[in-house]
Symmetry: C2
Subunit: 230 residues, 2 copies
DNA sequence: CGGTCACTTGATCGTCTTCAATACCAGTGG
DNA sequence: CCACTGGTATTGAAGACGATCAAGTGACCG
């Protein structure tokens, strides 16, 4: 395992609360791990014995119904902090999309660390708040937006981070993931993307690469302030 | 304002982290308030200058789209802690359903208190985690459950707290609130409730009072493990 | 090349929404 | 006591949106 001092996401993650001089303690309880593409590394049914910090890669977080219907509740990437649970088990499953590297912190030992570095709890609370706000926005999307509005919202949200040129970005997740994130079917997602292309709202460079062509129109659509074609 | 020592929800709320001997400090920064039925007491557009603790009554928390479509993200009642935000503004609006009494804590002053009583931050984190888990469950409902499954899930969730006799409880919120919480229309909620009644799954005592008659069947339905009629 | 898997496209179907009345209930004033 | 009124709830009929079902395409890889 690489030492925490060399961790690329330390400053942006909850670990940033630990001063440089105490990184040795952090490293002492962090257990590095790796999950190959498609691999489950948190299972909804597992006892919630640890917290996770993603250091690189992208993961999908989801809940399942008994008949395999799936709702993706979010995507995690470098810097994401996972594992907040309230019962004895995790509330969701996590699967690697590409290769995911993470640090695993046993709950009890992290608790000791939090005790010594209250700043860490502050960061965890901040992370939870951020997540809560994002998830509330997603509830608005799932409960009240049309399919077109959902896809538009998704594209705009994705265009924020990790752009190459402005409005040009990669979707690491498959169509099925997007569908299960937006509460739609694969076919509907595909059809709407194609429609956006013919309407000159976006450019589909290839299956996993998109370029926004009319961000203003997409924004109107995503916010639901579109007159017709809601 | 009544003193914190007499507060009925103190132990169950974040304020429970403050020892009896320091309640005077807590009372010093808490500003009591009251919201009449139907009144807005947190607006999504307002700068997030304070946290709220509901001491009695029930409130709906929601987000709006420009064309007035509404998604209720949750209901708050005695002991609920509100106001976690990440940007300068609140992430949602809050409206009283019946008469709501609350305590308002200016952000800066609460921060001082948290500094002196780290247990308070722990409680806030716990509250945020609980909320996060509930909201993820709701995303599964909104994204992947059928209308029948949604209503069944809602009834079961409501039957947990505040029952008179087992499975017999009051819905303080109107049909429109239920619809906007479940991502459905009023008509659909009404139709499904009536259908549940004719199927002997529930009893509708009156508009706002329900009695579960076949909790097992409802549970099967809510979890999506129903063979037909998903 | 043959196989697999994800993506794409088309045709049909069903669930829930929308639109439109109507019923109900509490509060008000005649 | 009983119209009257505003709001919520309920019920019915028609329609739309997205799902489902079914092929077909393309890329990657053995």
């Amino acid at each position: 395992m690489r030492p925490c001092a060399a961790c690329g996401v330390r400053q942006t993650s909850v670990c940033g609360a630990i001063p440089e001089t105490d990184l040795i303690r952090l490293a002492g309880i962090a257990i590095g791990g790796i999950a190959r593409p498609g691999t489950l590394f948190i299972a909804e049914t597992d006892p919630a014995t640890a917290f996770f910090n993603i250091t690189s890669g992208a993961a999908r977080l989801y809940k399942l119904l008994p008949d395999r219907r799936r709702q993706i509740t979010g995507f995690a990437n470098g810097g994401s902090f996972l594992g907040l649970a309230v019962s004895d088990n995790y509330a969701f499953s996590a699967e690697a999309i590409d290769t995911v590297r993470y640090c695993r912190f046993p709950r009890a030992r992290l608790r000791e660390l939090i005790h010594d570095f209250p700043l860490m709890e502050e960061r965890m609370l901040k992370a939870a708040s951020t997540e809560l706000v994002a998830v509330q926005e997603q509830m608005l999307l799932l409960g009240r937006k049309s399919a077109r509005e959902r896809v538009a919202s998704f594209l705009l949200a994705r265009s924020g981070a990790g752009c190459q040129s402005p409005g040009h970005f990669v979707l690491p997740m498959a169509r099925g993931d997007i569908a299960d994130y937006l509460g739609l079917t694969i076919e509907t997602v595909v059809r709407i993307l194609r429609r956006f292309r013919t309407e000159r709202l976006i450019e589909i460079v290839n299956t996993s690469e998109v370029m926004l062509r009319d961000e203003v129109a997409l924004r109107r659509l995503a916010d639901g302030s579109h007159p017709a074609r809601g």
